[in-house]
Symmetry: C2
Subunit: 64 residues, 2 copies
DNA sequence: ACATAATGTAAAATATGCTTGACATTTTGA
DNA sequence: TCAAAATGTCAAGCATATTTTACATTATGT
């Protein structure tokens, strides 16, 4: 399922998918896939995304 | 680096590595490796571990 | 001391995260 | 309206998470 929380947090920082990708050191397609939710990123990548977006793991990645 | 938080939470539930592995549906070696910290689990596995151990992602997997 | 459970570790095989490159579509702003 | 930026998506390949099997070591209880 889609992860709209990342998309929202990214919008709050005025960053494009490409900006975020470069900031965390992965490809743009990887960020796109994470937001689209069709796969299962590593915890290391999740933490890197959280740090760039000033959010916690629970805020961005906990599932309801 | 080692993840002693999982080990502690597991001890608090009186579960062996094997118990936790079966509860989350992975091999015992995977749990051992996660606790040993020599690799980088998927967010889905982290969430499964959190649910079994009644903890949050931030409590068990946020790095300091 | 002994048996058993729990843990640490290793090698080979498989599954999948992630990259690179490329192209199509949508959105944004001048 | 038009060009550029942002996003969606696909396929092939590489990197690495995870499994399976197996064995050694360390704890635990009787």
């Amino acid at each position: 399922m889609k992860n709209l929380k990342i998309k929202a947090a990214r919008a709050g920082k005025d960053m494009s998918q490409d900006d975020l990708a470069k900031a965390v050191g992965v490809s743009r397609q990887t960020i796109n896939a994470v937001e689209k939710g069709d796969y299962n990123p590593s915890i290391k990548l999740c933490i890197a995304i959280c740090k760039v977006l000033d959010a916690s793991l629970d805020e961005l990645f906990w599932e309801d």
